[in-house]
Amino acid sequence: MSKYDVVMGAVITKPRTSLENKTGSWRTRRPVVDVEKCVNCLLCWIYCPDSAIMRLEDHIAINYDYCKGCGICAEECPRKAITMVEEG
């Protein structure tokens, strides 16, 4: 009926499609964690708007599949353990 191969009204008809759609590809700068400096205070985990901070045993790590590179974590880190690095 439609010439266009899209779902009416831009409906996403199944859940969890974010697992296929890795929004980390939008990133132009990536946060890099210095695990020696990180004290696992989790401020970055609280602030991250994309829930892209992963909690490990002794320090955090970045989920690059979903981190859009906004840099809030680097800005908020009291230990300056996160540095923003140009992608590419």
Binding site: M1, S2, K3, Y4, D5, V6, V7, M8, G9, A10, V11, I12, T13, K14, P15, T17
Partner: protein, 393 residues
């Protein structure tokens, strides 16, 4: 056959809504639409209808509530006018983009400033490109009839788009007419329950209102364009079915005297009655070859029907009830000019604005317009191709 009762335009709209088994109404009262909201809330309070009525603090919220409710699969109605429609503006696009078959009545009213509560079409014309199917009623009967048809058009599987029924503020909303209403059973048969295609359901989670990147956005918008173009056929089918039921057949437009008219006046809304009355008088008493053309369906623009209807016309006077400041023609005039170019039509086009803020066109003014048109048909130069009716004739 239905019963005849006295109803004002607002009441007639509310009465139609009452019969359409609407799941939810959310609306914010604004003159001259207020009585619609009052009557519907009375029906709800009296337990006459099983409709959820959601009070909100603004028109922006009213339509937002309607979008959510429509996405949940309900049949939804709202109504507004003037500033209210302007405040809804951004949500109008969300409703059509999300393919919510909401029906809205707009009691057409001028926009401030200066403050004015009377009729013109600048509210709807300001939101002309919102992607809703747009019809204009000439009288109270038509307002009632169009609301019932609007649900059927909007909810048609080929359309799935919101639809707005325009009725002139005060001239229709507050004037009582002898209206033939359908029996509830007949409306039920004509308008079966809505069958949503996608709806919010926790058992079957879906995402509504997601964003689209540049490589997809245009596809959704063009798909929406396909749907509104398909609604042309649906409007005609629904109008025919409604005609079989009531004896009042609807279409995209209604012409009078156009089989041999040299001069025709094109209008929308209540003024169409004044124009047709005048055309009939001039034809019957003076034998003048004049005709009247009322446009019921403004969006989608019924190109083919207009082209075939205007085949023999030498002069077409298009009346716009909204000012498009700084533009070449008014909104309707521009559409007709585009139609002429696209379809190679050959008649003289005069496009006059009228009726701003309730400044009605009288039968005397309509007569002068026809006579001006006849002179132009004979080769005279019109005082101007554009302008304000009161200043032109």
């Amino acid at each position: 056959m239905g019963r005849r009762i006295g109803l004002m335009g607002d009441e007639a709209v509310a009465y139609a809504v009452k019969q359409c088994d609407v799941g939810l109404v959310s609306a914010y009262p604004i003159t001259p639409q207020t009585i619609m909201v009052e009557r519907i809330s009375e029906y709800v309070a009296n337990g006459e209808i099983d409709t959820e009525f959601v009070c909100v603090e603004s028109e922006h919220s009213a339509l937002s509530v309607c979008v959510g409710a429509s996405l949940s699969g309900l049949r939804v109605f709202t109504a507004t006018a003037s500033q209210g429609l302007a405040l809804m503006h951004e949500v109008l696009y969300a409703a059509s983009g999300l393919r919510c078959p909401i029906v809205m009545a707009v009691a057409n009213r001028a926009l401030s400033a200066p403050l004015n509560i009377h009729c013109d079409h600048s509210d709807m014309m300001g939101s002309r490109d919102c992607g809703w199917v747009q019809v204009f009623a000439e009288n109270v009967q038509e307002a009632y009839d169009w609301v019932i048809q609007a649900f059927k058009i909007a909810e048609h599987p080929d359309v799935q788009l919101p639809t707005v029924v325009n009725l002139d503020g005060f001239t229709l909303t507050h004037c009582m007419e002898d209206v033939e209403v359908l029996e509830d059973e007949d409306v039920k048969k004509f308008l079966p329950p809505r069958k949503p295609i996608y709806w919010v359901d926790p058992k079957q989670p879906m995402t509504f209102g997601a964003w689209a990147m540049p490589n997809y956005y245009y596809k959704f918008k063009l798909q929406q364009q396909e749907a509104i173009m398909r609604s042309l056929k649906v409007v005609k089918e629904v109008g025919e079915e409604f005609g079989k039921l009531t004896g009042r057949r609807y279409d995209t437009l209604y012409g009078y005297g156009l089989e041999d008219a040299e001069v025709a006046v094109l209008s929308m809304g209540s003024t169409s009655g004044t124009i047709r009355y005048t055309a009939r008088r001039l034809r019957e008493s003076d034998g003048l070859k004049v005709g009247a053309l009322k446009l019921w369906l403004f969006r989608p623009f019924p190109e083919e029907d207009l082209v075939s209807t205007l085949e023999k016309v030498k002069v077409l006077i298009v009346l716009d009830r909204a000012l498009s400041p700084g533009a070449v023609f008014g909104p309707l005039g521009s559409d007709i000019a585009s139609l002429m170019v696209k379809h190679g039509l050959d008649f003289k086009l005069l496009n006059y604005t009228y009726g701003l803020g309730g400044d009605e066109v009288t039968p005397e003014m309509a007569e002068k317009l026809f006579k001006l048109g006849l002179k132009v048909a004979e080769g005279a130069k019109p005082p101007s191709l554009t302008g304000y009716v009161r200043e032109v004739v």
